[in-house]
């Protein structure tokens, strides 16, 4: 048996390196042989060989839909992959509370909201609510957290004001609606606002949602990002550990300065 070459990973259908991929897309072209050929050409542009338009549909007017199979010529060197991951050691509810008590010795204050016009509360509630999510308690239940959930459709300004008010250690923002990248502009505006308020160094800035990745969060100037399937304990553990790391850094810097 041929071995998988980690430097050249290709899609797999039923034979190693066969490169088989399924595509589906519409084109703004009237249905017919021309549109079908355009679909095929497009797949070739993407780097496919043996392109097969296996299904073509008339969407009415000047649109057509295609299902295409092809062999992908590209490959990925997985030995070179860089995967930005939230740096955190898994801890459960009890471990995190003990950790905060022992290492920080004070309650952590967090303020959370689903901001802008977004009204999807289920995600942020999953992280925050007493009753918790997937069998885990939410941050409101943690004795060593002081957790405040502002709910949905909260203007960025209100969130920042509340955070300043509460002297929050961390701000948690949820963004579910992503059409026309509205989450990007909304999150970017939040970061600007926080920097304008001069509190960027005082708070952990965390965002989450189904289309959020840690990488995207970092790009936007957040400290961390949490995607689908996040559990409250992930977030709690991260905040606790990061705050302790932060205190260490601060005291180290202060020591140096002295």
């Amino acid at each position: 048996m041929t071995k998988v070459d980690l430097k050249n990973i290709r899609p797999y259908g039923d034979t190693l390196d066969d490169g088989k991929v399924q595509l589906a897309f519409s084109l703004p072209l009237r249905y017919g042989p021309e549109a079908k050929e355009a679909a095929r050409q497009l797949a070739i542009e993407m780097g496919f060989e043996d392109v097969d338009v296996v299904s073509a549909h008339d969407l009415g007017g000047s649109f057509s839909f295609f299902v295409v199979y092809g062999k992908c010529k590209h490959s990925v060197d997985v030995t070179q992959l860089h995967i930005p991951k939230v740096e955190v050691e898994q801890m459960d509810y009890f471990q995190t509370n003990d950790f905060i008590r022992d290492k920080l010795g004070r309650k952590i204050t967090v303020v959370a909201a689903c901001t802008g016009s977004d009204a999807h509360t289920v995600g942020i509630d999953a992280i925050m609510n007493m009753k918790g999510y997937a069998g885990e308690p939410g941050l409101e239940r943690y004795p060593w957290f002081r957790a405040q959930n502002l709910g949905a459709q909260v203007p960025n300004e209100t969130l920042v004001a509340k955070a300043i008010d509460a002297d929050a250690d961390a701000i948690l923002v949820s963004q579910i609606v992503t059409q026309k990248n509205v989450h990007i502009s909304n999150l970017t505006r939040l970061v600007d606002l926080i920097e304008a308020e001069g509190i960027r160094d005082e708070v952990l800035l965390i965002c989450g949602g189904p289309r959020i990745s840690h990488e995207l969060a970092l790009e936007l100037g957040f400290d961390a990002g949490f995607g689908p399937g996040t559990l409250p304990s992930h977030v709690a553990a991260y905040i606790a550990q990061e705050l302790v790391r932060k205190e260490h850094r601060t005291s180290a810097r202060l020591a140096e300065e002295r």
Binding site: A24, F25, S26, H57, L59, G60, G61, F63, F65, S117, D118, A119, T121, V122, Q153, V177, T178, Q179, K180, V182, P210
Partner: protein, 524 residues
């Protein structure tokens, strides 16, 4: 009735819901709201925006409200201005907006004269709505009205022109009903945006011009396909009656109009919402527009198996309130949804139980069945199959309106082919299992029947409890969707005003009279 449900229990639920609605109506009849008055302005012909982009009905009504004059209704002020100036309502509104006229400066004009001055305009407003209802009837007769379950899909590009592309494509593929989803949070705007719009998020703004553009496009496609394509938009929010009026003027066919949605899901004040929903539903009723209620929303946040009875309880309340706004059963599209966790053994049987129960309890109502959304993931193949099982439940249990699920529900608002695939899904399932519902009977005392009876029993308990404490208090206690709202909390309470003795709303009067004459439901 296919399920052997306890009919006295059903009757008892209806009685409870009637009492609950009556209590609500007492409060409703005592107040008016800014949006109700703006609706009157719109119906007598005021439209457009001022130089700052504020809609003229808002300019006028805000002025009246600030002056503490809402209690008498906007109509009499406009009437007085007409008498005094001889100008059209539109010209008056424009002058007021330009700061060239003070709308409360004509108090000296007799009330009767003011009424008389509006007579023709009111008649014209009424006639426009009637003509639309008539035109719809004509088209329905001329073209095929579609076969139930009707295929209902949404468009939500944010751009009305792209929406047209998507809607026409869907209609050609077999959609009977097109709903243009609104931009996020439009329900929180205390005005209706103006003109054609191309920038919305998760939906397209509901504006009268957008309604017109889409209606025109769908009329074209109706003629092309030989099927009457219905158009839907949303009443919900801070502008319920205004949008209802716009829908009536542009011949929409259905409107989302739930008596509690705004309260629970948008934190809109309950007094405001109950007043607004009533007048908006009267307009819907008169315009021949079928309402769609929003019980599906209970299940997207709470557990669909546990909270099934709240859906039924809410359906009874929505029905009772709808009757009190003059809506006949045939225009009450009660909502429910296929949202039970697909990991549950026999989930499909429980879904069928719920859907068949709704069909049995509301035999004349065009039930609107909402697809799985909550348990949809990025696994589009599994999603497509779940939508197929949902479509099967729909055709098996005789649902009227099937809002099709999208295989990409968890990913994005629908792409043009997502909708096409959804329509093909429904058409295949509806056809391949067309008579399955008639072919089979449920085992007496089996899983399906037992489940339906249990949900009915629980709904009865809930309704008794709500009647006991009143709907407002029940909402405060979080009976629905576990969400608690205070009677004086939420948005829009500042737009509510107690009616004065001389309060006058010519459209409410006229529509009320007409609905009674047409033999529709009695209208409070």
């Amino acid at each position: 009735m296919k399920l052997n449900l306890d009919t006295t229990r059903i009757a008892r639920c209806r009685e409870c819901a009637g009492d609950i609605a009556d209590t609500i109506m007492e409060g409703v009849n005592r107040v008016t709201t800014t949006t109700i008055e703006r609706t009157v302005c719109r119906l007598i012909g005021i439209d457009g925006v001022d130089s700052a982009g504020v809609p003229l009905p808002n300019v006028l009504v805000d002025m009246l409200h600030e002056a503490g004059r809402l209690a008498s209704g906007a109509a009499c002020y406009v009437g007085r201005a007409i008498v005094a100036t001889g100008l059209s309502p539109q010209a008056i509104a424009e002058k007021v907006a330009a700061g060239e006229m003070d709308i409360v400066s004509f108090d000296s004009v007799e009330h009767d004269l003011a009424r008389a001055a509006l007579e023709d305009l009111v008649a014209k407003g009424i006639a426009r709505i009637e003509a639309n209802a008539e035109r719809r009837r004509e088209l329905m007769e001329k073209l095929s009205p579609g076969i139930e379950p009707l295929i209902y899909v949404i468009v939500a590009t944010g751009n009305i022109y792209e929406d047209v592309n998507q809607a026409q494509s869907a209609a050609k593929a077999g959609a009977d009903i097109i709903a243009v989803i609104r931009s996020t949070a439009q329900s929180l705007l205390d005005y209706v945006p103006y003109g054609a719009t191309t920038e919305g998020f998760g939906g397209t703004f509901a504006t009268q011009e957008n309604f017109r553009i889409m209606r025109k496009a769908l009329d074209e496609t109706s003629l092309e396909t030989g099927r009457y394509i219905r158009l839907v938009n949303y009443c919900s929010g801070l502008c319920m009656p205004e949008i209802a009026a716009m829908g009536a003027m542009e011949r929409l066919d259905m409107m989302l109009n739930d008596s509690m949605y705004g309260i629970l899901f948008r934190d809109i004040n309950m007094k405001r919402t109950f007043a607004d929903q009533h007048f908006s539903r009267m307009i819907n009723a008169f315009a021949g527009i079928t309402i769609n209620t929003g019980e599906d929303n209970y299940l997207t946040t709470s557990d669909a198996y546990q909270e099934a009875h709240t859906v039924l309880a809410s359906q009874f309340i929505n029905e009772a309130l709808a009757h009190r706004s003059g809506l006949p059963d045939e225009q009450i599209g009660l909502g429910h949804a296929f949202e039970i966790d697909p990991a549950m053994t026999n989930a499909f049987l429980y879904e069928v139980a719920q859907a068949q129960m709704a069909r049995d309890i509301f035999p004349n109502e065009p039930l609107k069945y909402m697809p799985p959304t909550k348990y949809m993931t990025g696994d589009i193949f599994r999603g497509y199959l779940m939508n197929g099982m949902f479509n099967l439940a729909g055709v098996m249990t005789g649902q009227s309106i099937q809002l099709l699920g999208m295989l990409t529900e968890a990913v994005h608002t629908p792409h043009i082919h997502d909708r096409y695939l959804a329509i093909r899904n429904a058409k295949y399932v509806f056809s391949t299992a067309r008579d399955l519902g008639c072919e089979m009977t449920f085992k007496p005392g089996g899983i399906v029947e037992t489940r339906a009876q249990k949900v009915l029993d629980e709904a009865a308990v809930t309704l008794e409890q709500v009647r006991e404490i009143g709907l407002m208090a029940a909402i405060e206690e979080g009976v629905f969707a576990g969400i608690s709202r205070a009677p004086d909390g939420g948005r829009g309470l500042d737009g509510v005003a107690e009616k004065a003795d001389d309060y006058w709303n010519p459209f409410e009067d006229e529509i009320s009279a007409r609905l009674k004459k047409n033999g529709g439901g009695a209208c409070d």
